[in-house]
């Protein structure tokens, strides 16, 4: 289903620039990941889901999208920190803020502003 969606997306955007195609692909993967994760609480399981790994596989192209996603989620940020850590090799979260997704999101948004990754 997702592969079909991605194929359709590719067809639809072949004349559009690659950043827009990447954004559309990212949006599809986000929704796919939410479905795959379901009611699981496990951060490790959530990060091992195929759609999450596909986001990580987008590499640096996904960074501005992940930051935009965190911004859009406001005070209910989701688990995008693992993908950001995997892609960048960075972890701007203070040890005392581990598990506090709001503080972690703030730290990553500030990091992105410093690194000029904001989208």
């Amino acid at each position: 289903m997702v592969i079909h969606q991605l194929q359709e997306t590719r067809k639809a955007v072949f004349l559009v620039d690659s950043a827009k195609a990447d954004w559309l692909k990212f949006r599809i993967l986000v929704e796919k990941w939410r479905t795959e994760r379901g009611a699981r609480s496990s951060i490790t399981e959530a990060m091992a889901m195929p759609a999450y790994l596909a986001i990580i596989g987008m590499g640096e192209r996904a960074i501005p999208f992940l930051i935009a996603q965190l911004r859009s989620e406001g005070d209910e940020p989701d688990q995008w920190f693992g993908a950001l850590m995997a892609i960048t090799g960075e972890n701007p979260t203070k040890p005392e803020d581990q598990g506090n997704f709001q503080k972690m999101a703030e730290a990553w948004i500030k990091w992105a502003e410093r690194e000029v990754y904001a989208w």
Partner: protein, 148 residues
């Protein structure tokens, strides 16, 4: 009325067996909720994303989860029956007996009902502990108790 979770993952939850008690939130998860923490996600992932009590191994094992609740004064107990003045948590797992992977935790209310946070979805109260059994959470593996 049921909440926004995928109902095939929690097939025993019906309007007769549970009640939604909050809006959906990704700020905290079931392990945190059973520990009465609504600020953090608790999980012993190796990446340091989830909160995990200091000194407890960051391992996704029933033993590590038992140790995590021990930091809050809980001790292993026989079952999930209601006992006056005692608060209980149930740790859920899935997999071969003795090698279960922890998946979920629920907290017993003073009424004898239980409360669970369902992943990134809502908190619920459920009449029996096994109402959240299913393909995602498995079943209760052990119970822990402490004075209320």
């Amino acid at each position: 009325m049921l909440g926004s979770w995928p109902q095939h993952e929690l097939p025993h939850l019906t309007p007769a067996t549970c009640e939604v008690t909050s809006k959906a939130s990704s700020r905290y998860n079931c392990i945190a909720w059973a520990a009465k923490d609504v600020i953090k996600n608790w999980w012993p992932d190796p990446f340091g994303i989830g909160y995990w009590p200091p000194g407890v191994p960051r391992a996704v094992t029933i033993g590590a989860f038992i140790q995590a609740y021990e930091t809050l004064g809980y001790k292993l107990c026989f079952d999930g029956s209601l006992e006056a003045g005692i608060e209980k948590v149930a740790i859920f797992g899935i997999g071969p007996q003795g090698l279960e992977i922890p998946t979920h935790a629920a907290l017993q209310l003073e009424s004898g009902e239980w409360t669970s946070k369902l992943g990134p979805f809502e908190d619920i109260s459920h009449k029996t502990v096994d109402a959240v059994n299913g393909p995602v959470y498995g079943k209760p593996i052990c119970y822990m108790a402490r004075p209320r």
